[in-house]
């Protein structure tokens, strides 16, 4: 089954509190964990994200595109990256999420992937 592990940080000061050496180690460990998950067949895709200030919010209403500055929600929690994994079940996904190095600094939200049901196209048209 597919699970999306969303990496949230409690606040944006998380990184400024880390020393340069600690940041370096975190980077090495994060990339190392991705490699490990790839080797164990669990990794589908992993990516860190640029800070929320870089986000643009896109909506289409009445055929008009609007683009506004992000982030979407004013919360203390920020989305910092994601890892899409293949795991046997929810507890297997939790085990993998617990191994993400950033789990020690933030919170990993584990969400099972929803398979959109395929509807008969003939009736849709």
């Amino acid at each position: 089954m597919l699970y999306l592990c969303l990496v949230h940080f409690d606040d944006k000061d998380v990184f400024s509190r880390l020393s340069e050496a600690e940041k370096r180690e975190l980077d090495i460990n994060s990339l190392g964990y991705d490699t490990e998950l790839a080797a164990s067949g669990n990794l589908v895709r992993a990516q860190a994200l640029q800070p929320p200030e870089t986000a643009v919010l896109v909506r289409v209403r009445d055929g008009r595109i609007s683009a506004t500055d992000g982030p979407f929600l004013e919360t203390k929690e920020q989305l910092g990256g994601f890892i899409l994994i293949e795991a046997r079940d929810l507890n297997d996904a939790i085990r993998i999420a617990a191994g993400i190095p950033l789990a020690r600094h933030g919170t990993i939200e584990v969400r099972p992937v929803y398979q959109i049901p395929r509807h008969d196209e003939a009736t849709a048209s």
Partner: protein
């Protein structure tokens, strides 16, 4: 040629055994699960080229252990304990056949450890020993997967924090520890047999898992145990009626109205044979006596052929082994069948005055039935209403509502 299908077949038969051994070798559930995953990944790579090894289980255990040591080594510069563990594990010899059997027992005993909360024992046993996924367990218990997942996480933390030993209990502790295991198996069975919530009365998969677990336990234990065999016999005899207990619409069919041709003869034969052996043995256990009662029903060719005298005698015996009000209630129903509803009703009312079963739906349902048979319709109706209020299970609700409707009809 080794196909994907044959590796999956090995997963089904071997993965839980390999996991059990890896937990012992690596002393950690999560690390073992990771290693199990790695071992099967290696198998998927190597077996198609090299063929399935002669002993796939041993191959998987050593592949898993090798991969785990490899991981630990890579992390070892951060973690002194892990480094020590890696060195120590390297010195260990490959596992023998009997240690693998013991590992499965160790796994069952740790999942059902009295220090693990009872609801977590069920989830742990079904996931770690039977190989069900968290989502499957949640579906079977009509719980949310997140609830089951958290139970399992907490149970594993508890096992780690309390350093619960991964071992088969010493002979002096075996009876008590086995008791917790059997209770867990029986709870799994009961949830399948008479689901407490939801739309359908039966979830036969859980019953089948419980029966499989009891068989596994019997195969693994060094000495035959009357209690485990009694539980197996009881579950087989109850399970044998599964196809007759509900009709096509999923409604309850009482034992007296069941089509006995639908009862599973093979399970009855096995259960009855076990009961015969157990009742001839020196040690009578509560499960064994309950199985003997179930056997009396199973061997009766028709409801009126049921030997209620023998059933009451067995309940008397059971009361001595397990003096619970529920046993008294069942005994009262058997007495009603032997001596008539009036005498049975007096027995039930005596239990009711004891006060403990006031919230037990089957007490009210049994009382209602006897009152109905005595023609005391007003009182019967009140008792059915009381039973209905305590019932959260759709098929049982429909049954009680049907009885209530019948009572509301004018007498012919």
């Amino acid at each position: 040629m080794t196909s994907q299908a044959s590796i999956e077949a090995v997963w089904r038969t071997e993965s839980r055994r390999v996991l059990a051994t890896l937990i012992r070798l690596l002393r950690d559930f999560d690390r073992a699960e990771e290693a199990l995953n790695d071992a099967f990944l290696a198998a998927a790579e190597q077996w198609p080229r090299q063929g399935i090894p002669a002993n796939p289980r041993a191959w998987l255990v050593s592949a898993g252990r090798f991969k785990a040591i490899d991981r630990i080594r890579r992390k070892a510069r951060f973690d002194v304990v892990a480094a020590e563990l890696a060195l120590e594990e390297e010195a260990q010899m490959p596992p023998e056949a009997e240690t693998i059997a013991d590992d499965q027992l160790r796994l069952i005993f740790v999942c059902c450890h009295p220090e693990v909360p009872a609801d977590a024992r069920i989830a742990m046993t079904l996931r770690e020993t039977c190989g069900l996924t968290t989502e499957e367990i949640a579906a079977a218990f009509l719980a949310r997967p997140t609830t089951i997942a958290q139970r399992i996480v907490r149970a594993k933390n508890r096992i780690r924090d309390l350093e619960l030993p991964y071992e088969v209990p010493e002979p002096q502790d075996l009876a008590e520890r086995l008791d917790a295991v059997l209770r867990t198996i029986y709870l799994i069975f009961n949830e399948g047999y008479a689901a407490s919530h939801g739309d359908s009365l039966l979830r036969a998969d859980l019953c089948a898992e419980a029966i499989r677990l009891a068989r596994l336990l019997i195969a693994l234990l060094a000495d035959p145990d009357a209690e485990v065999e009694g539980l197996l016999a009881l579950m087989l005899l109850q399970h044998s009626r599964r196809d007759a207990r509900t009709d096509a619409a999923g409604d309850v069919v009482l034992i007296a109205d069941q089509d006995r041709r639908l009862w599973d003869r093979a399970e009855i034969a096995e259960g009855v044979a076990l009961v015969g052996r157990l009742m001839a043995g020196r040690e009578l256990t509560a499960y064994g006596i309950e199985a003997a009662i179930a056997a009396q029903h199973a061997v009766a060719a028709a409801p009126q052929a049921t030997n209620w005298g023998e059933i009451v005698r067995l309940y008397d015996l059971l009361l001595r082994a397990d003096a619970s009000p529920i046993v008294s209630l069942n005994r009262a129903v058997a007495i009603a069948m032997r001596d008539g509803p009036e005498i049975g009703l007096a027995e039930i009312d005596a239990i009711r005055q004891g006060g403990v079963l006031g919230e037990f739906r089957y007490l009210h349902a049994a009382r209602a039935d006897l009152l109905r048979r005595l023609g005391r319709n007003e009182e019967a109706r009140a008792a059915y209403v009381a039973a209905l209020e305590l019932t959260h299970q759709a098929a049982e609700q429909r049954f009680l509502e049907g009885r209530l409707r019948e009572l509301s009809l004018p007498s012919p």
